[in-house]
Symmetry: C2
Subunit: 336 residues, 2 copies
């Protein structure tokens, strides 16, 4: 394999070393590293090794607490609460899911609220863990504000993704949806700013509330919601679930996920795990197959999760090509 082609295990090991070296506990480092490797594997490099530098920097500046140990509580028969202690979201999610999964199987449905948390990376990574256990997984995660209310100019809601992952036998999820409320990811605007390139109209508004092609103005203004007020509605749904219901800090008050200032954002996540067979009278798998058949009757039609699955199969066979510049930085962080 070429020098910059790594196996998924190699990516995971490198990331884990870097995170532990930067101050994460072994358990937190391993948990986050696994998600980083999964992002590289699934063709989502923005949340793979390219993000590792930010994580390490945030450990150094106390935006995320490396030594935090998540605390899992069962507040009601169907309600699990996790206090992430301003540590990484990933070990908090892992620890909580270990309780959530058996509770959901026994109750038919269970909720997990994560507070004092942090950016959870790819939300669909987490809901897919539930799907792998045979549960229908719903997920919500809030973020520092970058979208305005309908009719407003000031950022009050994050790009706030939601996700659903569908169990499909022991192999994994047949459908994974993971979508934010904005037209494009904020990272895409930041990338254009770094490259000195304009952005299309319709991605952002400037601080004056007017459309702009200047990514620097866009970063100072707001991200446009996908589908207008319906995108705002989607961001609000997530804010209600991941911030209000989880007792986490709302996006309008949270410190940024980027940069080193402001301390821990203390944002939240919320997951709902559902046993599909009792609710559907045993029809769930049949209905899902009918739905996928309807969606794929036209060769040109797209089923969410398909691209990730294709990238995954390729990566499992032949490894992942990592940008050489990123790989060099990562190796330095890992002391490798």
């Amino acid at each position: 394999m070429p020098m910059n082609t790594l196996t998924i295990r190699e990516i995971e090991a490198l990331a884990e070393r870097a995170l532990v070296k930067a101050g994460a506990t072994q358990e937190a480092g391993a948990s986050v590293a696994k998600a980083i490797a999964a992002a590289e594997r699934d063709g989502i490099p923005s949340h793979g090794l390219a993000y590792l530098g930010t994580y390490c920097e945030h450990l150094a500046f106390g935006k995320v607490i490396g030594s935090a140990v998540p605390k899992v509580m069962q507040e009601m028969p169907g309600t699990i609460v996790v206090d992430a202690g301003s540590g990484f979201a990933h070990p908090a999610t892992d620890a909580g899911f270990a309780r959530l999964v058996p509770v959901a199987r026994g109750q038919g449905i269970a909720l997990m609220a994560v507070r004092n948390s942090y950016n959870c990376g790819v939300l669909g990574y987490h809901t897919e863990q539930l799907a792998r256990q045979g549960l229908l997984g719903l997920g919500f995660t809030n973020a520092p504000a970058s979208i305005a209310a309908s009719g407003g100019r000031k950022a009050v809601l994050g790009t706030n993704p939601w996700s659903i992952a569908v169990p499909d036998g022991p192999g994994g999820a047949s459908i994974v949806i993971d979508q934010s409320a904005s037209v494009v990811a904020k990272s895409e605007v930041a990338k254009r700013a770094r490259e000195g390139k304009p952005i299309p109209l319709g991605w952002t508004l400037g601080p004056d509330g007017e459309p702009t092609t200047d990514p620097n103005l866009g970063l100072k203004g707001t991200m446009l919601p996908a589908g207008g007020y319906k995108g705002v509605g989607s961001a609000l749904l997530v804010e209600l679930m991941a911030a209000c219901l989880a007792g986490a800090v709302i996006g309008a008050k949270a410190s940024p996920f980027s940069g080193t200032a402001g301390g821990p954002p203390r944002t939240g996540q919320c997951f709902i795990a559902i046993a599909p067979e009792p609710a559907s009278g045993g029809e769930f798998n049949t209905r899902c197959r009918e739905l996928v058949a309807a969606l794929t009757q036209e060769a040109s039609a797209h089923v969410p999760g398909k691209r990730r699955r294709a990238a995954r199969e390729k990566a499992e066979r032949g490894g992942v090509d990592v940008d050489p510049a990123i790989l060099e930085k990562v190796r330095a962080l890992a002391g490798a």
Copy 2:
């Protein structure tokens, strides 16, 4: 009051008489009539008395079974299933909520799946019933297909709304979101077709998959999703919850909600009721107030549910002005 200004109670009584006369049981007629009156009260006349003729016609043609008695089952400690028996969705929801509410209070979260159901009218009407009981209410309802998959031309998903209603003391919900996956409601396109008026580009595609301003072509083609593929994702979320999870008929196979042909659509609903205080460590109301304060810091910004609330206050004081032509038809249906 002018001849065509009715109190909410008068609207309800008229609608109930018409529905029972057309074959609904007293219980079903009362349940649907209450929702019709609520739609008129909340400024949503499309789902008010204007829809009553369709309901009565569907009773006559067996698209909805007037004599159906909903069957409520508790399949798991947190899973309620309602078989609507191809009757109206409203009495099925009422009967199921009577079980769902105490279960959600005791478990922290509970799910209700409704199968063999029908168009439930305004989805936010139902989630608001949960919010009035102090529970965070989530709702999903699927519909016969009218939206294509991303990259496709054939309708495979309904306009599929989801809703969330937030409890706010005994008075009602402070935030209600109820939004479909399409740019506009299909009824809006049908209205333009009846009036012989063009529709804006961006509402529909014709059967050839091309944008059209002809509402008749649009009705034969597909409704455009709000926010492109993210609107499709939203429709899919709802299809997974309201059809697959509820063991109901998927939109791609369901008979139409409009017209008299095809028998019962047997589509579904799904509701999740959540006790907000245990999940949030008692912070839920505080966080919601912070969120509403952030949303309303700009006078021009819109909070979902505000328009409904304003219409409601006006209607409770001074009644509702009903279109005289519709009122005449309704009085004929009621034999009044």
